[in-house]
Every structure is written in structure tokens, then in C-alpha cells.
């Protein structure tokens, strides 16, 4: 199960550092050449590290902010995906440059001035919208998570939350409701499905029930206050709250309304899972409720005394109702505090104070959502689906082993 990460998609990081003199030599600043995703050099001033920063001029304001050079946040990238560092993040919004990525033939570079969205098929008025057209419609903003339904890894003790389930992130998404565009083009009766197609080199496609489009789908052009990042579908993506990430097609170029699903490669040979009786479940869109303790978690080492257990919980079927935490290997469960506001189909931050006495134990969390669904154990999931289920929509309780020396290790599950 565990795939080694490559450096393929590592985020921008400082390369060569050269000195330059500012203000007649009164102060110096390093200038780092940072590689952007399009490989163009961008100069960013970074203060020299000083023994006493109060005795040295700082750098002047810049056109864009930078993350402290002391903070080593990084996605964990493979050839096809890049995972958010959940254990290093606070609150519930994922910084845009740390949002997980999953794509099928790289990140395309799309000129927003040439961008067009075509909507056709079972509609009264087949229409082409420019990006400017889309931005003229009434807009919506919504905070919601996005998760890849293949977001499950196990197999060794030395796995961080990022490695176990780093294919989930949360943003404020802004765009136009798809229902607004449906009204604009006049969806015809009998249109039960639509095909969403990306403008990437894989021409990624998914069939989506039209009801989801009417309900809460967003044609998103912005994320966390700015235009989408290229890795997140610039200039326009589909965003389907609570549904498996693959359906939120990025670099969206076309929507075709039809009467039946297209049975694309993604929804047949990939995003389907074996269930009991030798059957294969298809169009399993909802993300099941899940939680994970992100602190303390591998690779941290803890010390005796008070520890604030922190983590994330979410459900694709609605709001999180409660999160329970066990610090005695699942014998007893206590209610964790949930950070307000608790939003629909959104990551929620939970916290629980714990006094560790230095003895070996296991800690874990489980979420209950507003439909009454309680996050299952690994064994419960396998029992419900059969051993040949595959890794999609796999949301078991994550168990952390606390060793007497304070090491925190993942408890691997026997998967396949």
C-alpha cells in the first residue's frame, strides 16, 4: 500500500541565494530565486537571520507575502498526487499552496483570456461562457472540504497524518452556482446526468447526476480569496460539496447534459469498489464521515503532562455532530470540544485535553455525523464490505500508539 514519494511535485522552495545591498549598505537582505509552477523566476526578499533582529533593518513590504523561512511546510508528492501536511496545519482552512493535488496528466497552463466553458446537450440554448461571463453572474462563497475517495494508506508505524490521509483539504470556494447556469441554458426535462470534462491532457471526465448540479454544485473560479491555483483547476473547476474529489473536475471546459451516465473510465475501472457478494459499487459519491488526530501523531515525540489532543473531523453527508476521543485504546470515549462554526460538509477542528502519565497506550478519535453515522473501525469496514473492497471510501478510525518514551506511532492495519 505504501508508495514512496518522489520529488516530482514539490512546492516552490528557495534555490540560489545571493546578497544585495539595500539603502546604501545600511542593511542587507538575501534574495531567493523561487521557482514558480511555470518555472519563471520570481524574486522574493527574505530577511537575513540575525542574532538580534531589533538591531537590523527589516526588508520593505513586498508585492506578495512569503511564508517564514523557518516554517518547512511541504506537500508530500508522488507522480500523480501531492498530500497536504495535516499534522503541520492549524484551524480548518488549508493554505492554497498546501491543498492536496491529484491529477491525471499534469497541470495545464490555460490562458484565462482564451478560456471558454461550453454547456450543451439536452439544453434549450447551447452556450459558450467566457471567464468574464461567469464572473458577471451572482456569486457564492462556501467553505467546504475536498477529499479524494482513495484517501487511505496504512502498512507501517512510521506514517504521519499526511501519509495516511493527506488527500483532504479545505478552502473557501467562490464561483457561480451551477443551478444559475442551468437556468441560463434551459436544462430540458429528462436530463438526468451531465458529463463534466476537463481541459487537461487527460481530458478527465465524470458523469454527475443533474440533481447535484441543481442542488449545490459550484462552478468555482476562486479559492481562499484569490483565483484558483493552477493545480486546483485554474481558471475554472467544478466543485461538488461533500462528494469524492474526482467528481470536482478541474480545468473545466465542457458540460454536456444527457439522459444516462457515460460510463467513463474514471467511474468504472477506477472510482468503484468491491463490496460483498462479488458486486462492484459504482457512483458512490458521498464522502463518509471521518476523523483523525493530527496531534500528537507521528513523527512527534511527547512528554508527560498536559497535552491538547487536536484533530480534524468531517462528513460529506452533512454536519459533524460530535467527536469522541479515547486515550485508553478504545475502552472509554470522551466528547471532544468542537471549534465553531460547524459547517455543512466541512472540516471541523476538535480538541481534547489529556494528561499523559507516561504509560503505554493508544489514542484515537471517532466522529458521528448528523445522519447518525458513527465512524467505523477498520475491522467493521472490512466486515461490512468484504476483504476485496479496495481503498476507495475507506474511512476507518486511525489509531496512534503512545510508547513509554513518548514516541507516537501509527498502528498499521492488515490490508490485503
Amino acid at each position: 500500500m505504501v508508495k514512496p514519494a518522489s520529488d516530482g511535485d514539490q512546492p516552490a522552495k528557495p534555490a540560489t541565494i545571493t546578497r544585495r545591498t539595500l539603502l546604501g549598505g545600511a542593511a542587507t537582505a538575501a534574495v531567493a530565486v523561487v521557482q514558480t509552477s511555470f518555472a519563471k523566476g520570481l524574486q522574493i526578499g527574505i530577511p537575513q537571520i540575525s542574532d538580534d533582529p531589533t538591531k537590523q533593518m527589516g526588508v520593505p513590504p513586498g508585492k506578495v507575502g512569503t511564508r517564514s523561512s523557518f516554517e518547512k511546510l511541504a506537500k508530500n508528492a508522488s507522480d500523480i498526487s501531492s498530500r497536504s501536511p495535516l499534522q503541520d496545519l492549524y484551524g480548518t482552512i488549508t493554505p492554497s499552496d498546501l491543498h492536496f493535488e491529484r491529477h491525471h496528466n499534469g497541470v495545464p497552463a490555460i490562458d484565462p483570456a482564451k478560456y471558454e466553458l461550453l454547456i450543451h446537450g439536452l439544453v434549450e440554448r447551447p452556450t459558450v461562457f467566457t471567464l468574464a461571463d461567469l464572473k458577471r453572474f451572482p456569486s457564492v462563497s462556501r467553505i467546504a472540504f475536498l477529499e479524494c475517495s482513495g484517501n487511505f494508506r496504512t502498512g507501517k508505524e512510521t506514517m504521519s497524518p499526511q501519509e495516511i490521509c493527506g488527500l483532504t483539504s479545505q478552502s473557501e470556494w467562490t464561483g457561480v452556482l451551477l443551478s444559475t447556469l442551468f437556468r441560463e441554458v434551459g436544462v430540458k426535462p429528462g436530463s438526468n446526468w451531465f458529463l463534466a470534462e476537463g481541459g487537461d491532457a487527460a481530458l478527465m471526465t465524470r458523469s454527475i447526476p443533474t440533481s447535484k448540479g441543481w442542488n449545490d454544485a459550484i462552478i468555482a473560479y476562486a479559492q481562499n480569496g484569490e483565483a484558483l491555483r493552477p493545480e486546483q483547476g485554474y481558471p475554472v473547476r467544478l466543485f461538488l460539496p461533500g462528494w469524492e474529489g474526482n467528481t470536482s473536475v478541474k480545468w473545466l471546459r465542457r458540460l454536456e447534459l444527457g439522459d444516462a451516465p457515460w460510463q467513463t473510465r474514471e467511474e468504472t475501472s477506477k472510482y468503484s469498489e468491491g463490496i460483498k457478494g462479488g458486486k462492484i459499487r459504482q457512483f458512490s459519491f458521498d464522502i463518509d464521515a471521518r476523523s483523525i488526530i493530527t496531534f500528537p501523531a507521528y513523527p512527534v515525540q511527547i512528554q508527560k503532562g498536559w497535552i491538547e489532543i487536536r484533530g480534524l473531523a468531517w462528513s460529506g453527508r452533512g454536519k459533524v455532530s460530535r467527536v469522541e476521543v479515547s486515550t485508553d485504546a478504545g475502552k472509554n470515549w470522551k466528547l471532544a470540544d468542537l471549534q465553531e462554526p460547524i459547517l455543512d460538509k466541512a472540516h471541523v477542528r476538535f480538541r481534547h485535553l489529556w494528561q499523559w502519565n507516561g504509560s503505554e497506550t493508544e489514542i484515537m478519535s471517532r466522529v458521528t455525523d448528523e445522519t447518525g453515522y458513527v465512524q467505523p473501525t477498520f475491522a467493521q469496514l472490512i466486515d461490512a464490505r468484504g476483504a476485496d473492497t479496495g481503498g476507495y471510501h475507506f474511512n476507518p478510525i486511525t489509531v496512534w500508539q503512545i510508547k513509554p518514551d513518548g514516541r507516537v506511532l501509527n498502528r498499521p492495519e492488515n490490508f490485503r
Partner: protein, 169 residues
């Protein structure tokens, strides 16, 4: 979130008049999708014999000689090695043969997507279906014959019937 059930919807115009009518010339080059009933399949045809040559040149490096093995996975049913799980390939897992044509045409070869002619895509599809013992190696694959191919896994596929609630599925 649902404007259709929102009283505010009455204050919205039914149309904003934004966007331009899409012409046939704009729709046709993008409208490449293929449905299980064959709708969307282009003119042209191919055979497994021709497909075998193309496969060896353009596909085998990623998917193995004959569609078995290779760094990006097998495409053809074979006997699993002892102790290994059965690989999910076209012959034992894909529910619709039209998907093979659609996916090859839109995304393959990986390093040169969109470079194959419709004839080449038909030939590769014929080759892969034949290698999976789902199509006669002497037969011609085209818009009429492809949708008629019955895939063994089709009967296994069931739509998600889970309802929100306590049950673990």
C-alpha cells in the same frame, strides 16, 4: 444553497443573457464522448491485427508486451501469480467496451494524448478486446460492432444504494 428552493429565486431574472450561443462548429470538435449505446462513436473501423502493431509501438512500454505487466499496469486478463490479487483489467473489470475506445481516444498515448486517428483507436480497442477474449480477432470493430460487445463484469456493477444513516456499508 439551493436557489431553486429559496424564496430569493423569485427576485432573480430567469436569464441574465450572458454567454454566446454555441455553434455546431464550436461544439463538434469538443463533443468526443462515447456512450455505452455507441452514441458518439465516429466513422471508421479497425482490426486486432493492425492494433497489435500499434500497441507494440506506442503502448507496450507502459502496459507490457501483449498488455500484461508494465509500469502502468496490465490491460489484459491473465492468470494471477500465486499469492497475488487478481489485477483489475479490461477483461475482468471494465463494464462497457465503449469506455475503452473513449479513454484511448481522449487520453492515450500518455505522452502524446490526442495523437491517434479514429482508425488507430478502433484498431487498439479491437486488439485489447481480442486479447481479453471478448472479440473475434478476425472481426472488424466499428460503431456498429463495438457497442454489441458484452463485458463479463457488467453484471457485477450496482449503483450506490447507501442511505445516509448509522449503517456501515
Amino acid at each position: 444553497m439551493n436557489r431553486m428552493s429559496d424564496p430569493k429565486v423569485d427576485s432573480l431574472p430567469s436569464r441574465f443573457g450572458l454567454g454566446k450561443p454555441a455553434t455546431i462548429a464550436q461544439i463538434t470538435p469538443l463533443d468526443i464522448d462515447v456512450r455505452p449505446d455507441g452514441q458518439g462513436l465516429p466513422a471508421g473501423s479497425g482490426t486486432a491485427t493492425t492494433g497489435a502493431v500499434i500497441f507494440a509501438a506506442k503502448c507496450a512500454a507502459c502496459h507490457g508486451a501483449g498488455g500484461v505487466g508494465g509500469p502502468n499496469g496490465s490491460l489484459v486478463t491473465t492468470t494471477p501469480a500465486p499469492g497475488k490479487r487478481t489485477e483489475k483489467v479490461i477483461g475482468n473489470y471494465w463494464p462497457y467496451a465503449t469506455t475503452v475506445f473513449d479513454y484511448i481516444r481522449r487520453a492515450m498515448p500518455f505522452s502524446q494524448p490526442g495523437s491517434l486517428t479514429n482508425e488507430e483507436v478502433y484498431s487498439l480497442t479491437a486488439y485489447l478486446l481480442t486479447a481479453n477474449k471478448l472479440f473475434d480477432e478476425k472481426a472488424v470493430l466499428n460503431a456498429q460492432t463495438l457497442p454489441k460487445v458484452v463485458m463479463p463484469a457488467q453484471k457485477l456493477f450496482v449503483p450506490d444504494d447507501r442511505k445516509a444513516g448509522p449503517e456501515i456499508h
